[in-house]
Amino acid sequence: MGRYLSQRLGQGIVVILGVTTLVFVVTRMIGDPVNFILPLSASEEQRAALRGDLGFDRSILSQFGSFLRDAVRLDFGNSTYFRNEDALDVVMRFLPKTLQLAAAGMVMALLLSVPLGAIAALRPGGLLDKFLVTLSLIGLATPQFFLGQVILLLTSVKFNLVQFGDGPWTHLIFPALTLALPAIGRLTMVTRSAMIDELNSQYVKAARAKGVAARRIVGVHALRNAAIPFVTLFGWEVIRALAGYTLVVEAVFDWPGLGDLAILAIRERDFFLIQTIVFIVAIMVVLINIAIDVAYKIVDPRVKL
């Protein structure tokens, strides 16, 4: 276990390093960021001075070296857009909103997809199964932004529930639902097909033969075994939600989270902010990947870490 964890952590560091290097190199290819910070009327001396201040006049290698040195101390430099506020502080201010959204969405996905998939698997080919499969397929074929727009249109225009932007916790419901729906579609299908396999297996037949209650067969025996493929995919959903889909949902619902911040930072060419966001997201992705493996171990004791 300990050996395993250290191995995974090592791999995680490679991932984080890879992502930050890529983003560092890529962002240095954007045109001169100084032009975005200073007004057009700024003189050439002012531009040169700022360039020197931010270190853009040095070679890329030396910039990267000092970036890595500072990153280890969690110093990512100052955001240029947010008036020289520390970039990490800015990210930390926006991060909780995204974590709320992702957590609410993923809890919804977990609570809905497992029972729905299990119910569908009880009678494969039945009316309820067909209905759920069709619904899941539509859910995972719809672009997430469109789902969000439809939900927004229905709730705010038709039912006059204005749920836009930041606000009390009720404002979280519809963005979280938008985040959850495609995941629910995919996870329901996975649960369903895993449950169909399990319910046709020998041990379920044996349990039924000796008269174990149906509820116990489905709820305890089959569900636990079906959880193995489910765990992997659920982990993937969490990663994709945190590292991508929240961007879309936040854009549709004006949710002031990390995704909104990322788009702003990209538009404004705020290098230091972009790097910080990517660094934080990469750390989260690595941690979730480790959590998936640990969850495996819990679900299936045969797995050796």
């Binding site: 890879g18 672009p143 927004l152 225009v157 299908m189 097909s193 879309v248 538009r267 990517v278 997201v281």
Partner: protein
Amino acid sequence: MSEANPRRAGATATDEFSARQQEVDEARASEEGQEGRPYELRAATQGIFGELRADKAGLLAAIFLTIVLVGAVFAPWLAPQGPVEGNPSTASIDPIWAGGTWAHVLGTDAQGYDVLSRLMYGARTTLLIGFAVVLIAGLFGVTLGLIAGYRGGRTDRWLMRWVDVQVAFPGLLIALIMIAVLGPSKTSLIFVLSFNGWMVYARMTRGVVLAAKERPYVEAAEMVGCRPRRVMFVHILPNLTSSLVTLAVLEFARIILAEATLSFLGLGLQFPEVSLGVMANGGRDSFFSLPRLAIIPGVVITLIVLAVNFLASWLRVVFDPQEREKRFAAGATTAATTVEGAAT
């Protein structure tokens, strides 16, 4: 097949669950009887289009995709107007079902451009990006997967580590940053989406190669002195066709969604280029006053993705006899098999 009937008729149902199971078995048996012959035989006796005819969702999907494809490919000749042809005097005309005219079947947008024409040109761009990305990412991924699987050892370890690192990347975020840098154009979209999408092919190819490598025919080919390249491409690659085709089709659907998402966020293609995602982005501006401008492209994207998914499940059944039998045994609907692929 033998797995599919855990309880034969005559066994008494002891609880609610097995009673249902019995109903399913009976329904299955009667279905088999009505058809006259088992389902999986149909493809063998009537060819792949016989299978398509048996699969209603697949057939509808194929028809819909053909229409979309024709409309997209021949947009310059079929579209009533150009994608950016119009002016404020023709702005915001209602579609035909809301009292519009036949001149603008789906109405016009806030700039006065014909929505149907833009849809056709937009689908053209979107499908082109989809095909290009599947081709590039597929070629790159399959080649690397073949090399990793066939060579094994250190090459394999390093290539797969590369795949692992890239899979762990926050995809959409990196894509956005790269597009912002490369500038919003078709080429950069294709490059970025290929860069983010080749790993699936590499992983799958490597898995198949590892399994095929142990087979006697590969050994025999090596024994008679075939070069590694010949063994890889002539002897091992054909094993991949069925899974590769299905994967490519599902990836195509994913790319369409990805293009739409990037353009929706305003970082994809820019005026005067038009894609389905660009139209969805345009719909944001007048979202509450003219919601149809967001709904029409949204629905079209959804339908295309849905149809491609159905097509993938049809292809899987056509190409893979094992899958055919599994589907028959599970009594599952056509759709059930698509998702495993779509979810990864």
